[in-house]
C-alpha cells in the first residue's frame, strides 16, 4: 500500500509540475498551524478554505454545466440562515442544524432550477441574480426574527479552539474539492456526470439528441452546487459566530465569480487557486498599507526626497482600497489572460505528448513514457 503510493508519487506526481504544486499546496495547508498560530492569519486561512468550497461549487454549477448563476449567494445564505435560526430559536445541536441548513440549500437549488430550466444566457443570469436579493428583502422585513442588518448573534461555533475550527474547515475543503473534481472529471471511467456536464455546456440540443436527459442532469448540477455552497455557508456562519445579511448580498455572489474567473473557469483547481491567491491578497492590503506608511515615515525630511514621499503616500492610499485593486485585477485578467491565471500557468509549465497524450513538464525534450520528441 505504502509502496504503491510512493511509486505513484515517484512516477505520477514528481514528473508533472502541476500535480507537484497541488501536493505541496495541500501539505502546506495541513501544516499551516505549525508555521503560525496568530489568530489574524489563522482566520484568513480558515475563511479562505471555506470560500474555496464556495467558489468550486460555483465552478461546478456554472462553469461545467454552463448554467451561469449570478446569485450563488442564495445557497450560501439559505444554509447560513437556516442553521443560525434553528440553533438560536430551538437550541438544536449544532451538527443537526448544519445538516438541515445544507439540505435547505439543496432544496433552494432544486427550486431555483425549475424556472432556470426554461432560460439561457443573459436571461438566466438576470433570473438567478434576483433570488438572493428577494430573500434579502424578506429578511429585512421580518426584523424581529432575523435581526435585519444586525444579524443573528451567538451562533455556536463548531470547535472550541481556532486550530480545531481550522482543521474542520480544511478537511471539509479537501474532501469537497476532491469529490467535485471526481464528479466533473470528463475522462473518468466510473462517473459519467463530468462528460455529460461538458456535453450540456457545449451543445444542449446535441446532448438531448444523443439520449441524455438534460433536465435531470441540470437538476443534479443545481443540487450538487447547492449542497457544497450550503456546506460553505454553514461553516462560514459557525466560524464567524454571527449570521448577517452579508451572506446574501451581491458582493458574495460576485466574489465567487471573480475568484473562479481569476483562477480559471471550468477547472476545479483554478477556483482553488483563485481563492487562495485573491482572498489573502485582499485580506493583507491593510498590512501592506501600514508597511508602506512605516517606510514613508522613516524617510528623512529633506527636499530631495519629497517626490519619493509623494509616491509612497500615493501607494499608501491605493493599498487602502482593496475593492479598487480587485476591480483592476479582474479587468487585467479578463483582457490579457481570459482563460484564467492557473490555466495560463499550467499551459506554460506543462505540455501534452502528441503521441500518447501524457502530460509532461514543458522543459522536457522527449515524452517521459513513449520517447516521442516534444519540440
Amino acid at each position: 500500500m505504502v509502496k504503491r503510493l510512493l511509486k505513484n508519487f515517484r512516477w505520477g506526481v514528481l514528473p508533472v509540475p502541476g500535480r507537484l504544486i497541488a501536493v505541496i499546496f495541500f501539505v502546506f495547508v495541513f501544516i499551516f498551524p505549525l508555521i503560525t498560530q496568530q489568530p489574524y492569519y489563522m482566520d484568513m486561512m480558515t475563511y479562505a478554505s471555506i470560500f474555496a468550497i464556495f467558489a468550486v461549487s460555483w465552478d461546478l454549477l456554472s462553469g461545467y454545466s454552463g448554467q451561469l448563476n449570478f446569485g450563488h449567494a442564495l445557497f450560501f445564505g439559505v444554509a447560513a440562515y437556516t442553521s443560525a435560526l434553528l440553533g438560536s430559536y430551538f437550541a438544536w445541536p449544532t451538527a443537526a442544524t448544519m445538516i438541515i441548513g445544507i439540505l435547505a440549500a439543496v432544496a433552494a437549488g432544486v427550486i431555483t432550477c425549475f424556472p432556470a430550466l426554461k432560460l439561457r444566457g443573459p436571461y438566466l443570469s438576470l433570473l438567478t441574480l434576483a433570488f438572493p436579493l428577494m430573500l434579502l428583502g424578506i429578511i429585512m422585513f421580518f426584523k424581529e426574527i432575523t435581526g435585519a442588518e444586525y444579524g443573528i448573534p451567538f451562533v455556536p461555533s463548531i470547535a472550541d479552539t481556532r486550530v480545531g475550527e481550522y482543521y474542520i474547515c480544511v478537511i471539509a475543503m479537501t474532501a469537497s474539492v476532491l469529490i467535485m473534481w471526481k464528479l466533473t472529471d470528463a475522462g473518468s471511467r466510473y462517473i459519467r456526470t463530468g462528460l455529460i456536464f461538458h456535453a450540456i455546456r457545449e451543445d444542449e440540443i446535441a446532448a438531448r439528441a444523443t439520449g441524455i436527459n438534460t433536465i435531470r442532469y441540470k437538476l443534479l448540477a443545481f443540487a450538487i452546487g447547492g449542497f457544497f455552497a450550503g456546506l460553505a455557508g454553514v461553516l462560514y456562519v459557525h466560524v464567524r459566530e454571527i449570521c448577517t445579511i452579508s451572506t446574501l448580498n451581491l458582493t458574495m455572489s460576485f466574489q465567487a465569480i471573480i475568484w473562479v474567473i481569476f483562477g480559471g473557469i471550468v477547472s476545479i483547481y483554478g477556483a482553488v487557486v483563485g481563492v487562495y491567491v485573491l482572498f489573502p491578497l485582499m485580506y493583507l492590503t491593510y498590512d501592506v498599507q501600514s508597511f508602506i506608511q512605516s517606510i514613508s515615515q522613516a524617510v528623512p525630511q529633506t527636499p530631495a526626497l519629497v517626490p519619493l514621499v509623494k509616491i509612497l503616500q500615493f501607494l499608501e492610499t491605493i493599498a487602502g482600497q482593496p475593492i479598487l485593486i480587485l476591480a483592476v485585477i479582474v479587468i487585467l485578467i479578463l483582457l490579457f489572460m481570459p482563460e484564467g491565471i492557473a490555466v495560463w500557468i499550467r499551459d506554460k509549465i506543462e505540455r501534452e505528448c502528441p503521441r500518447c497524450k501524457l502530460t509532461n513538464a514543458a522543459w522536457r525534450r522527449e515524452c517521459r513514457a513513449c520517447g516521442a520528441s516534444l519540440r
Binding site: K118, L126, I261
Partner: protein
C-alpha cells in the same frame, strides 16, 4: 396621497425610462449587458455637483456645466467600450464581469475623491406650478420636459435618419450589415456613446432630486434591469412603458407603506420589483414587447 403617487410615478418613471433606454439600446444592438451603465449615470451626477454646486466646487453656470458633464461621460463611455468591452464582447459572462469591475473601479475612485459622504444639489429651478389643482415643482416639470424631448430625439434618430437604419441593421444581423458595407465597430461605438449620453442626461436630471453618494449606482442598476426585462431586452417601447410600470409599483411600496404589514414596505419594495421580473421571465421570457433570439431559447 394619490397626487403624490402620480407625480412620483411620472417623474421617477421618466428618469428610469431614460436610463433603461440606453441600457436596452446597447443590449439590443451589441448584445452587451452593460453593468457599468448606472455608474456613468453616477459620474454625470458627480461632475454636475462639482461644477455647479453653490456650496463647494467651481460654481459654473448651469448650461455649460450640464454640457460638460454629458460630453465627458459620453467620451468616458466610448473609451471604456474601446478599451474593455470590445475585446471580450463575444462572451457574455466576461462582459458582465468586466463591466461590473469597471463600475466598482469608478465607485472606488469616487470614494477616493469625494469620500463616503452623502451630498445633495439644490433644485436647478425653483417654484411650482399648479396643474389641475395639484402643485407640481418646476424642477419636476423640467425633468419631465427634458426626458420627453430626449426620448423623441432618440426615436426620430432611430426611425428617420440614415444612422438609425444602420443601427437597426446591425441590431438585426451584424454579419449581413457588415457585408452591406456598414462598419459594425463604428456603429457599436456610436451606440455606446449614445447609451452613455442617455445615462449622463438621466444623471443630470436626477441629481437634484436625490442624494449623491459613491455607491448610488447599485440600486438603480437593479431597477433598470427589471424594467428592461419587463419590457423586453432590446425593445425601446418596452423599456419606456416598463419604466412607468415599475416606478408605479415602487411608488406604491414607498408612499403607501403597506399599512397592514406593519410599515416595512420599504424593504419589500425590492422584493416585489424583482418578483415582477421573475414572473415575467418565467411566463413570457421575451418581456412585454421584446423578441427573443433563437439561440438564447430552449
Amino acid at each position: 396621497m394619490t397626487q403624490q403617487l402620480i407625480v412620483y410615478t411620472v417623474v421617477i418613471g421618466g428618469v428610469y425610462a431614460l436610463l433603461s433606454l440606453g441600457f436596452s439600446l446597447i443590449f439590443g444592438v451589441a448584445r452587451v449587458l452593460n453593468m457599468a451603465h448606472t455608474a456613468f449615470y453616477m459620474i454625470a451626477a458627480f461632475i454636475l455637483f462639482t461644477l455647479f454646486s453653490p456650496v463647494i466646487g467651481l460654481k459654473m453656470n448651469l448650461i455649460p456645466a450640464i454640457i460638460i458633464a454629458v460630453v465627458a461621460v459620453t467620451l468616458l463611455g466610448m473609451l471604456s467600450y474601446k478599451l474593455f468591452i470590445d475585446r471580450v464582447r463575444e462572451h457574455h459572462a466576461a462582459v458582465l464581469l468586466i463591466t461590473i469591475a469597471v463600475a466598482m473601479a469608478i465607485q472606488e475612485i469616487l470614494i477616493l475623491i469625494f469620500h463616503q459622504d452623502v451630498r445633495s444639489l439644490p433644485y436647478l429651478v425653483s417654484g411650482y406650478t399648479e396643474i389641475l389643482g395639484v402643485r407640481v415643482l418646476n424642477q419636476h416639470l423640467m425633468t419631465l420636459g427634458i426626458v420627453a424631448v430626449i426620448i423623441i430625439i432618440v426615436w426620430l434618430l432611430l426611425s428617420k435618419t440614415k444612422l438609425g437604419i444602420t443601427i437597426r441593421a446591425v441590431a438585426n444581423d451584424s454579419e449581413i450589415a457588415s457585408l452591406m458595407g456598414i462598419s459594425v465597430p463604428r456603429t457599436l461605438m456610436i451606440i455606446m456613446g449614445m447609451a452613455a449620453a442617455l445615462a449622463a442626461i438621466a444623471g443630470v436630471v436626477m441629481a437634484p432630486l436625490t442624494t449623491l453618494y459613491p455607491t448610488m449606482w447599485s440600486s438603480p442598476l437593479l431597477i433598470v434591469m427589471v424594467i428592461v426585462v419587463l419590457g423586453g431586452l432590446g425593445s425601446i417601447k418596452g423599456s419606456i412603458i416598463g419604466a412607468f410600470i415599475i416606478s408605479f409599483v415602487g411608488g406604491v411600496c414607498v408612499i403607501d407603506p403597506l399599512a397592514i404589514l406593519g410599515g416595512g414596505g420599504v424593504y419589500l419594495n425590492m422584493t416585489f420589483t424583482l418578483l415582477a421580473m421573475v414572473i415575467v421571465l418565467i411566463v413570457r421570457p421575451a418581456g412585454l414587447f421584446g423578441t427573443i433570439f433563437e439561440e438564447e431559447r430552449l
